[in-house]
Symmetry: D2
Subunit: 304 residues, 4 copies
């Protein structure tokens, strides 16, 4: 991609850091997932990088829902995973016990909850629109004593690090996806995943079980399953799913068609290389060769 | 078919009667299922009609096993069902209480067991190779007092009917199949069934369950499932199955390929019109149109 | 319950309104789901009412996660559903086109997104900790022109309604649960649901499918299935589930024991009456009578 | 057992040999499976040993059907497996090429088919009621040149062995069961199996799949599944099944009750030690301890 790539800004957030890890040099921050994806829809940018899932906080609802309900179809073309580490930053060095107010994004405070209780007993936490905005606010006004943010955001604003690595879970990871206009998926790499949203027939008992059996019958492993409200009645859900393999592979193609036939609707959101670049294990009977051999056998029986 | 059609003889058996019901005029009896099918294999006849299933006695093992283990592949090209009615015949009129010996095929005596106990208390039953052979034996020698056979067999040998309709179950039915050399199946009629033998991986727990899920995932209904020994170790089985639909239909083709990939082996034994000529009900999502629409959708996503 | 019932405050939020709908007169607001549930854990209140699910925004992560990972076990004892309607309120009447700044909780702005775009083209939206806090802020300072909040919150602060019923989805509903210390569930009413969290064996392919089959084998219908990260590695989930029936009913008890045996862990979160008070349909073979009859049959075979 | 044990006679058959292998000294032959089982029903014998399955010929229909449809309930109390070896016997030594007629039971000739074709090219095979009867016939008359029978039967009649071990499959095995009046099953040994007949709801698509899922949900492995006609309409079957475990074990008891609730009818035919005396592997989550722990957990939740 040659033009600018959008990302969930402002500059200094984890999304920015994730974008840089892809080698992209021309990023453009947007204030929200919605605006970042709108910029893809209207052609302002070729693609945007937005968070989709965090190992502690779970799925990022706004990303999941924007992809699902988009009138202009979008497609995930790659993913990036990033370890999430938070720092506590302030305008000047100070004792932790003197910190009375901390600004940060609610997801960040949730991930540092235990550390905050133990180390900042006198601080009240205030919600900010982003961790980067919290850092900017601390840098520009005396409203808050400190901010919790990505290390880079503190540096951008010449803030002092009071503490680093303060997340309760040291292995916290966020997964970001690069979203482009719907187009032909790139060639299979051998270590791809596919993302779809399945609207199951909620009035049929066992519909989710039958949907999962569509996968099982073709030896396709689900790696993520997340229910989201359909935005109509309470208790009706659609399911955002990741699974191993690429739409151009027979086991995935047959599964997708099986979902299409048996679900109320299916939104295809892309086949793209996994960040881990590890080829999935394919069970006996489900490889491309197995599918090809079975097709040859069938064609022989049909006399064609 | 213009040449002679083989059938499980001798003349006067139910197979003969079933063949006549198809309009075939040029039948040729064989002494056993094996010889009738050997005559197909070596080209002596174009096809042979043999029994495959009886509503009281169950599957006809020799037919099932000959079709399964045939080195020259054979194929079922049509089926005939026939109500099974037995008569008690003798050389001359006699009182039932005076009947001391009755010859018949073991399947026939099994189906008339209750009637025999109640009406022929003084008779011993002797096994014959076929009901027609029993009638012939009674006609030609004094060895047995009476025979249980098809009505037509008594008539062929000028025997007297002591009783008719003596089967314990008045609704007993036998299903016969016409077996031809393996070739291209005839065109779908809309009311077809398909017969296969699946050798499941018996060393994998739940293998039969997974095999049945191959059918369920494509909305294909099984109408017959019969285990047969694989002729090796006690406790290893293959499964002879009938199911709705024709190999040229997408839901059946995909199921067959799924079986081929996930079973140790699959023997295809034909797609042919059902005797009932009733179109099966196809669940929502599994019609030819549904398969076609899902393929079109997939091709669109693939940009092809 | 005679003592105060906690709820997600401040006063004037939908949780407050939901609590009032139960007839409870002695409510005590808490600033967060965590503090409301901590008050149950330490005995400050007998129970607390917190939101668990919204028909537009989905599951409330903090409630789901606090219930799942609580060291002091908690239990849901009842549920309340509430239609969610938002109002736009200000200090004095003003033209909508003059509104430059609006404060509200991000969930509220998300639910009014389209209305805001069409009716407040000149306004910037600012995040507040709650819709009630937004109303309070508007009432007490000139920082924001208007707030989006529950109708009652505008009234509490003597604010003027600029518009009512501004949610994009008129049928938006939030489900609240009353959470108590773990104890013996109340008696079945005939229209109960049960909530659990299942930690499936994520290293076993098809584990979710097998978990759902535990339900299917006992005719138990799932009504909610939501994955949540286990807070360890990215890609390992637990599943928060609601299903029809009460732990004291045989089909539910057997399902729960089946989950307990086949999952890595199961957290029981209560059996309690549904807000709809509608008895679920129980399939043939799964009623209390059916379970009782099967047990009687088995005991007869065992000679006991 | 102290009284005589019935068996499928005459003396000299494999059933006789199987009975002797159990250490029983007081056997009483019956001319058919039906009469052997009638003798159990009317108290003439305490139990009878009959064949139920052969590794080459498959299930023994008369035994399966008599057990299924018995008005006086019967129960399998033990099983015996026996390698099946056939001998060709005659009145005096003779060249194989001179053998013109061979008598034997159809099952025996089927199992020696290839050997007969290759070694007795000039012989015609005649059906006898049993292999022992064939040997007796050869000994007492000149009607047939030779008989195919169990080795012991040739010896009983002072016949000469022309050839031994002539079965096409050297590993052919027959399984016999000892059938007693329905009573309390013996204590579990740790290596038991259970036999039932399940009449599934044939008017419900996927009923067999759902029945197998009753087993899968409790980790119970099927070791035999055989369809039999219900003796009514063609195409309606019941299923004779063996599975690992004993009715007194929780996973089997729960499976049996699940079948009872979800099938049209279930006939329990006994829990008894396997001939192999090998304890089955029980998957994680399905042992007696696992069931006990889950019950304890549930009782704790119920406050009982």
């Amino acid at each position: 991609m040659t033009g600018p790539i959008g990302y969930l800004g402002p500059a200094g957030t984890f999304a920015h850091q994730a974008l840089q890890s892809t080698g992209a040099t021309h990023g453009r921050p947007f204030p929200s997932v919605i605006t970042a994806l709108d910029a893809v829809r209207d052609g302002t940018v070729e693609a945007s990088l937005v968070p989709i899932e965090n190992s502690v906080e779970g799925g990022v609802s706004s990303t999941l829902d924007e992809l699902t309900h988009s009138e202009t179809p979008l497609m995930i073309t790659s993913e990036v995973t990033l370890p999430v580490q938070f720092s506590l930053v302030a305008r000047a060095p100070m004792d932790l016990l003197d910190v009375r107010s901390v600004a940060t994004h609610p997801h960040a405070s949730a991930q540092c909850r235990r550390w905050l209780t133990e180390n900042l007993p006198n601080a009240k936490v205030y919600d900010a629109a982003s961790t980067a905005a919290a850092a900017a606010e601390v840098a520009s006004s005396g409203r808050y004593d400190a901010a919790i943010c990505a290390s880079v955001a503190g540096d951008m604003h010449d803030l002092v690090h009071l503490a680093d690595g303060i997340a309760d879970n040291r292995d916290a990871t966020t997964r970001f996806v690069v979203v482009s206009p719907l187009g032909t998926p790139s060639e299979p790499t051998g270590y791809d995943k596919t993302t779809v949203v399945a609207f199951i027939h909620t009035d049929r008992p066992g519909a989710l079980l039958h949907t999962l059996q569509q996968f099982a019958a073709r030896g396709v492993n689900l790696t993520r399953l997340e229910s989201r409200p359909t935005r109509t009645t309470l208790g009706t859900y659609c399911f955002s799913m990741d699974f191993e393999g690429h739409i151009a592979q027979a086991r995935v193609a047959e599964t997708l068609m099986g979902l299409k036939r048996t679900c109320r609707d299916v939104v295809f959101l892309g086949s793209y290389p996994t960040a881990q670049r590890v080829a999935p294990q394919v069970d006996a009977g489900f490889s491309e060769e197995d599918f090809g051999a079975a097709r040859t056998w069938l064609n022989g029986l049909l006399g064609s």
